[in-house]
C-alpha cells in the first residue's frame, strides 16, 4: 500500500446518536493530538482515544490533529470513521487497499 499522507483537512461521520464525527488535519512533527467531545466521555473517553490512536498507528499516521465529536459510537464505528477520514485527507478514496486494512482490522 502506498503510504497514506494527511494532505488536507477532511471530515467523516455524523453527529447522529451512536455515530462519531471526526475532522482531521495536518499536524507536522507534532504527533497525534485529539480533541474529544463525547456524550460518554466519563465511561468510554479513554477507550475512544485508544481506538483512534491504534487505528492511526495501523494506518501509519504519526502526525495529525483530530477533532472528535462522539455520540456514543461503538468501537467498530469509531474505527471505520477513522479509516474513512484518513483516506479522505490523503485523497485516497478511489483505490483503497482493503487487503492492507484487513491485515490488522480483525
Amino acid at each position: 500500500m502506498d503510504k497514506l499522507m494527511i494532505k488536507k483537512q477532511a471530515i467523516a461521520g455524523t453527529v447522529e446518536s451512536s455515530d462519531v464525527q471526526i475532522i482531521i488535519d495536518q499536524n507536522p512533527n507534532k504527533g497525534i493530538e485529539i480533541e474529544l467531545n463525547s456524550s460518554v466521555a466519563k465511561q468510554f473517553g479513554r477507550r475512544i482515544r485508544e481506538v483512534i490512536e491504534e487505528t492511526l498507528e495501523n494506518l501509519e499516521i504519526h502526525d495529525a490533529k483530530l477533532v472528535v465529536e462522539d455520540k456514543g459510537a461503538l468501537d467498530c464505528t469509531i474505527k471505520a470513521r477513522t479509516i474513512a477520514v484518513v483516506h479522505r485527507a490523503a485523497e485516497t478514496t478511489k483505490a483503497i487497499d482493503w487487503e492492507a486494512i484487513e491485515e490488522w482490522n480483525v
Binding site: V40, K42, Q43, F44, G72, A73
Partner: protein, 513 residues
C-alpha cells in the same frame, strides 16, 4: 463511614439516627405516633380568599428557616412553584427547606434561589436536567434528600418532614378551599400527592385559576384543611400538565421487551381472574399493557384493579371491562384526567394510601404485578433510576422501591444497552431499589429471574423466552459496548437516597470534573 446491608458506604453525618442505614426491604412494624397539623380555626364570616400570592405568603407567617411544599401533578406545565418562589425571594425570606413531591425541568429557576440563599434544603423524588446537573456539581451545601413517593408520604406522617406552609396549585377551587384536579382550564386529574400535604401542613394555601361557586365538588382536598385561597390568571400550561394520550412506542426493541415481559406475566401464577397490576410510563413498560390486553381478551381474564400513575391505556382497559377499577395517585395524560372526572370506577387516592410504609397498609400491598423501568441494574439486581451512567442526577425515585418491595412480582424492563451505555452493569451508580425486591429482569435478548425467587425459577422453566443469569446479561452488554470505566467522584455528598422506611440506602457524591 458505615456499610449498609447492600455494601454501600454511608457517611455517618448523613445517617438518620431514627432509622439508620438500609438493613433490608421488609417493613419494620414499630408503632409510632402520627404527626399532626397545627390548626387556626376559621370563624363564620371570615374570608379565606386573598388578593395575591404575596398577601397569602404574608398571612401564613412564612419566615426564614421554614419548610414549604408543592405537588408535582402539573409536571412540565407547572407555573406555581416558580411563581411562589419568585415572590418569596422578593420578600427577602431565606434559608427555606422545600419539599415538593417532585421537581421538573421547568423549575430551573430554583438554581438561582439556591445561589441566593433562598433555598438551602431540598427533599424531592427526583431532580431533572440542569438543576440535577448543577446539584451534582455541588451547588448546595446540604445534600438533597431523595425520597420515593411512598417514602415522602411516610416521612410526612412520621413528622420527619414537617410542612409549615403547603402551596397547592388547584385546577378548580371555591372561595373556601374545596379543591379538585379534574375540572377547570388546566386539569391534572388526581391530586394524590397534594392530599398528603393538605392534611399535614400547618398552613395550606390554594392557588387556582378556576374559582367556582361554593361548594366545589367533587372534593379532593376539603375546606377543613385549607387556610387561604388565591386566584391567579394561570396555574400553568395545560399541554405541559397533561399530554394528549400517552403514545405507545413504535421502537422495535421496546416492543420486543414488552412482548417478553408479557410472556412472563401471562405464564406467571398471578395471571388469573381478579389479578392486579401497575405499569411505569417508560417506553417498554407502557407497551406491556398493549400485549397484556390481547392475552386478557383471548383468555377471558379480568383484572380487579390497575394502580399507580395512570395513562390512557389503563382507561381504555377500564372502559372495555378488562379492568374493574383504577386507583389513581397521579393521572399522566388528558385521557386519564378525563376518566377520573367521568368514571366512578376510576378512583383518586392519596400518596400515603398509594405507597406509604407508615400507614395501616398502602395499596401497593395488594398489588400482584408491577412493571418498572431502570436506568441501570447490576449483577446484585440493585436498580438505579436516579443518576445517569455518568453519575449525574437526572431521574426520580418515584414509586419504584415501594411497588417493587410490596408487589408479589416485580418485573424490571430495560434494553440491554442504550447507545453505548450498558443497562446491565457490574455495579449501579446509585441504588434506589434493592436487588432483593427485584424478581424478574426483562430485556430484548431474554429474561433473568432473581435466584432468590426459586419458586419463579421453577414456574418459568419452560417459558418460551431465552433465560440467562444476570452475569450473562451483563457480559452480553459489555461484549457489544466494551467495559465502561467507573465514574470518579469527590467526597462531597450531593444527595442522600432514603429507602421507603427512612433508612439510608445510598448517597450520590459530587462527580469529579
Amino acid at each position: 463511614m458505615a456499610e449498609n446491608k447492600i455494601g454501600r458506604q454511608i457517611p455517618e453525618s448523613v445517617v438518620n439516627k431514627r432509622y439508620g442505614t438500609f438493613s433490608g426491604a421488609s417493613i419494620k412494624e414499630d408503632t409510632y405516633q402520627r404527626a399532626s397539623a397545627e390548626v387556626a380555626p376559621v370563624s363564620p364570616g371570615s374570608n379565606k380568599l386573598l388578593s395575591s400570592v404575596r398577601e397569602a405568603i404574608e398571612k401564613t407567617g412564612l419566615k426564614d428557616g421554614m419548610t414549604i411544599s408543592f405537588h408535582h401533578h402539573f409536571r412540565e406545565g407547572d407555573a406555581v412553584i416558580n411563581l411562589v418562589m419568585e415572590e418569596i425571594a422578593k420578600m427577602g425570606i431565606k434559608n427555606l427547606s422545600i419539599a415538593p413531591s417532585s421537581i421538573a425541568n421547568v423549575h430551573e429557576p430554583l438554581i438561582d434561589h439556591i445561589k441566593n440563599g433562598v433555598v438551602t434544603h431540598i427533599t424531592s423524588s427526583g431532580l431533572r436536567d440542569n438543576l440535577g446537573a448543577a446539584i451534582s456539581r455541588g451547588l448546595m451545601n446540604e445534600p438533597v434528600i431523595i425520597r420515593s413517593h411512598g417514602g415522602r408520604a411516610r416521612a410526612i406522617e412520621a413528622g420527619d418532614i414537617h410542612i409549615d406552609v403547603a402551596f397547592i396549585g388547584a385546577p378548580s377551587s371555591d372561595d373556601y378551599g374545596n379543591v379538585n384536579g379534574s375540572h377547570g382550564k388546566a386539569t391534572c386529574g388526581s391530586l394524590g400527592y397534594a392530599q398528603v400535604d393538605a392534611k399535614y401542613a400547618d398552613k395550606v394555601v390554594v392557588i387556582t385559576d378556576n374559582l367556582v361557586p361554593y361548594p366545589n365538588t367533587p372534593i379532593s382536598i376539603p375546606q377543613t384543611q385549607v387556610d387561604y385561597v388565591v386566584e391567579i390568571d394561570s396555574i400553568g400550561n395545560p399541554d405541559g400538565i397533561a399530554k394528549g394520550a400517552t403514545r405507545v412506542t413504535k421502537n422495535p426493541k421496546d416492543l420486543l421487551i414488552a412482548q417478553n415481559a408479557n410472556k412472563v406475566i401471562t405464564h406467571s401464577p398471578y395471571f388469573k381472574n381478579g389479578f392486579s397490576f401497575q405499569t411505569g410510563t417508560g417506553g417498554a413498560a407502557l407497551a406491556v399493557a398493549r400485549f397484556l390486553r390481547q392475552d386478557m381478551l383471548k383468555k377471558n381474564i379480568k383484572a380487579s384493579f390497575a394502580l399507580g400513575g395512570i395513562t390512557q391505556q389503563m382507561v381504555e382497559m377500564l372502559n372495555e371491562g378488562l379492568v374493574e377499577k383504577i386507583i389513581d395517585v397521579q393521572s399522566f395524560d388528558k385521557g386519564s384526567a378525563r376518566s377520573i372526572k367521568e368514571n366512578e370506577q376510576h378512583y383518586e387516592i392519596s400518596a400515603d394510601f398509594y405507597a406509604s410504609a407508615g400507614t395501616k397498609g398502602p395499596a401497593v400491598n395488594k398489588l400482584d404485578i408491577v412493571i418498572l423501568s431502570a436506568l441501570e441494574i447490576d449483577t446484585n439486581f440493585n436498580v438505579n433510576v436516579l443518576t445517569g451512567s455518568d453519575g449525574v442526577i437526572r431521574g426520580a425515585s418515584g414509586g419504584h422501591c415501594d411497588t417493587a418491595a410490596a408487589s408479589k412480582m416485580s418485573i424490571i424492563v430495560t434494553p440491554l444497552i442504550r447507545g453505548r451505555i450498558p443497562s446491565v452493569v457490574d455495579k449501579v451508580n446509585t441504588v434506589v431499589t434493592p436487588g432483593e425486591s427485584v424478581d424478574v429482569v426483562v430485556t430484548e435478548v431474554g429474561i433473568c429471574i432473581n435466584p432468590l425467587r426459586k419458586d419463579l425459577m421453577d414456574i418459568f422453566k419452560n417459558i418460551p423466552v431465552p433465560q440467562f443469569t444476570i452475569e450473562e446479561l451483563k457480559e452480553k452488554a459489555y461484549a457489544v459496548v466494551g467495559t465502561p470505566d467507573p465514574i470518579e467522584y469527590e467526597d462531597k455528598v450531593v444527595a442522600v437516597v432514603e429507602y421507603r422506611d427512612g433508612s439510608i440506602i445510598d448517597v450520590v457524591q459530587k462527580v469529579k470534573e
